[in-house]
């Protein structure tokens, strides 16, 4: 089992750091899955996470100049690690002006992901900073726990409003209530509502547009039969929603959510080189 990768380009390093920062805001610990082509940051829906789950996928070629991965076995050419993304974030924080950043799997006092940063210095030799981040190696028998979640059979799919706006609305609502109702219809309308004994506040978004989903057999999605005015809603934990919105460091190219009425909201944020899916279950 071997992993080593190198980033040389400053823009790639910057971008990678921002992705890691986003992940760090969403999960205290998560699973890093390495394949020959991709990196995945996975959070499964355990009770400890409040039932949220996350699936983030990056193409390694968009970030790394060198990438070598040898999995646990030839027919299972992958590596699954449990790590604390905050550590990775901290290691990369002061590496932004580095000449090179190498990330590799090592065995120091325990399995570690070692980030070795080569920094410019006034002397002839570079300065080297190494960060040994302890990780847990997840054995093959547990890999099934980390499969890609399927897109749920949703009632409504809608593009999100500008995330910055949505974030500032939700931030203010957080002070009033712990849960927020997210509802939307096939007419491109979305409402964010909170309701307490004293006050209820609703923010209306219009003209958002609904993404055209095509099901696998090529036919149009069954939601076509749905009354376009009818709202699908889910009541979710406002802090989880805010975590998702606040963690975004870059505006995504596409941002949408799929609502399964009263069950779950599935968020999809797409950037050029990164895709992030985040599931927030509805509260009882």
């Amino acid at each position: 089992m071997r992993f080593r990768a190198k980033i040389v380009d400053v823009a790639c390093l910057n971008h990678f750091t921002r992705v890691i920062n986003t992940i760090a805001k969403l999960a205290k610990t998560c699973t890093l899955r390495l394949t020959v082509d991709k990196l995945y940051f996975i959070l499964t829906d355990k009770v400890a996470n409040g039932g949220v789950s996350m699936w983030c996928e990056l193409n390694q070629g968009n970030f790394f100049d060198e990438f070598q991965m040898e999995g646990v076995a030839a027919e299972h050419n992958e590596i699954y690690l449990e790590l604390t993304p905050e550590n990775l974030s901290r290691a990369l924080k002061t590496a932004q002006n580095a000449k090179t950043v190498k990330i590799k799997l090592t065995n120091k006092h325990c399995p570690c992901v070692t980030v070795a940063v080569e920094l410019p210095s006034l002397s002839s030799s570079s300065r080297i900073v190494t960060h040994d981040i302890p990780v847990g190696v997840i054995p093959r028998r547990l890999w099934n726990d980390f499969r890609e979640p399927s897109v749920p059979d949703f009632d409504v799919s809608i593009y999100l409003p500008v995330l910055k706006t949505m974030k500032s609305v939700v931030e203010r609502m957080k002070n009033l209530s712990n849960c927020i109702v997210l509802e939307a219809n096939l007419n491109g309308e979305m409402n964010l509502k909170i309701e307490t004994d004293l006050v209820s506040v609703t923010t209306h978004f219009k003209g958002l547009g609904n993404p055209p989903w095509v099901s696998e057999d090529g036919s149009q999605n069954s939601t076509q039969d749905r009354d376009p005015e009818s709202m699908a809603e889910a009541r979710i934990d406002i802090r989880k929603l805010l975590q998702l919105l606040a963690g975004q460091q870059v505006n995504p190219t596409k941002a949408l959510c799929n609502i399964v009425s009263k069950r779950i909201v599935h968020f999809i944020l797409l950037h050029e080189e990164v895709s992030l899916q985040y599931f927030i279950p509805a509260l009882a």
């Binding site: 901290r90 799997l105 065995n107 080297i128 900073v129």
Partner: protein, 397 residues
């Protein structure tokens, strides 16, 4: 005991302000002592494991009038609440822009230390600070006795510590005769090595203005106080000298300039392990916070093979098999890690010298036995640099 009257007027209150800011990182009380060598401002922390002294030469001041000695021949000294003194110099930017002169004097009738800021536009701010007379605060140390010396521009060291989190308590500085200097975060015995990130920075000899290393060694000291002096050094553009020896002996940081001499003395953690021994077990490539030499940038990944770990893990299905815990120092109880038993017994650290208090200070030995000298010694007291020992004198020559 009579009071000595003293005035000093200086045109660069910013430097004094920065000094007070640095001193505030150390202790809650500011010791003020005007002597014929200059005005000294000192501080010590509650567990007596950190001491700093800023000595401003008389020439630093536009006017330096040291008052007459009292009948006992003692110079006046007092201590002021750090919070109060810092309050006068709190905003460094406004100090720089608005304050033209500063006058410090003693008002014996009101028992107040008067700090007067003469600002622009005819504004004068007068602060009357109450003080307490106090004993001499003097740490005993001698940088000449230290085996190792480093000198570097403050910038280099500031850039070195930036990689460590602001909350990190202690850092370990290591040197080797080959000229490698490293900083690493220290994991104390309460942190679990398999859960904590270890960061290490290696600098080469070329980055330093002077490197004199007699033997490989590493010392661990508090980062907070070190950062305090670093920021002063950086803003005053002075190179920082670091003198240190073996673990347990204090590390001395100095800055000097014709008009100002700064000393910071920090106790270092004592390490029962000999720093030159590295015992690696079959599965353990390098113990956390074990000995140096520190990692060299290894491009060929030869030490990194995780396969042996994987084999062990898969064949026995037991978590953590064959991975004895690395020695960290100092441990309070022997660790079950079998392979390291020979070292474990030595690791039963004797902490009898430790001063009780909040961590991490409790593990540091006290810098000196008390700060009170007898009047006869005080009278002949020559100044900040002293010979003789710093910590527990048992067994020391």
């Amino acid at each position: 005991m009579g009071l000595a009257l003293d005035h000093c007027l200086f045109p660069s209150p910013l430097v004094i302000g920065k000094a007070v800011h640095s001193l505030s990182r150390i202790g809650d009380e500011l010791y003020v002592e005007p002597t014929e060598d200059g005005l000294s401002l000192r501080a010590v922390n509650s567990s007596r494991s950190a001491y700093a002294c800023f000595l401003f030469a008389p020439l630093f001041f536009q006017l330096y009038e040291e008052g007459s000695l009292d009948p006992d021949g003692e110079t006046f000294r007092c201590k002021v609440l750090m919070k109060s003194f810092l309050g006068v110099f709190r905003s460094l930017p406004s100090l720089e822009k608005m304050v033209e002169k500063c006058l410090i004097s003693l008002n014996p009738r009101a028992s107040r230390l008067v700090v007067q800021l003469h600002c622009k536009y005819g504004v004068t701010k007068t602060h009357n600070l109450s003080f307490q007379e106090c004993e001499l605060l003097q740490a005993v140390f001698d940088k000449e006795l230290c085996a190792n010396t480093l000198r570097a521009p403050a910038r280099v060291l500031v850039d070195a510590v930036v990689h460590f989190p602001v909350t990190l308590a202690e850092v370990t500085l290591g040197v080797s005769p080959a000229g490698k200097v490293s900083f690493r975060n220290y994991l104390d015995e309460e942190t679990e090595p398999s859960r904590t990130m270890v960061t290490e920075l290696c600098l080469s000899e070329d980055e330093f203005q002077d490197v004199q290393v007699q033997q490989q060694s590493h010392v661990t000291f508090c980062l907070k106080e070190f950062r305090g002096i670093l920021s002063f050094a950086e803003s005053s553009n002075l190179p920082l000298n670091i003198h240190f020896d073996s673990p347990g002996r204090p590390a001395i940081f100095t800055l000097s300039d014709p008009l100002l001499e700064v000393h910071l003395v920090l106790a270092t953690l004592s390490d029962p392990n000999s720093s030159s021994q590295v015992h690696s077990t079959t599965l353990q490539a390098r113990p956390a916070n074990g000995a140096f030499p520190t990692a060299t940038p290894d491009d060929d990944f030869t030490g990194d093979d995780i396969d042996s770990y994987m084999i062990a893990m898969e064949s026995t299905c037991e978590e953590g098999l064959g991975l004895p815990s690395s020695p960290t120092f100092p441990q309070r109880h022997p660790h079950p890690g079998a392979a390291l038993e020979s070292q474990s017994s030595a690791m039963e650290s004797d902490l009898e010298g430790a001063v009780p208090g909040t961590p991490p200070q409790k593990k540091f030995r006290s810098l000196f036995f008390g700060s009170v000298l007898t009047p006869s010694q005080a009278g002949t007291h020559p100044g900040p640099s002293q010979d003789v020992l710093a910590e527990d004198s048992e067994g020391e020559s």
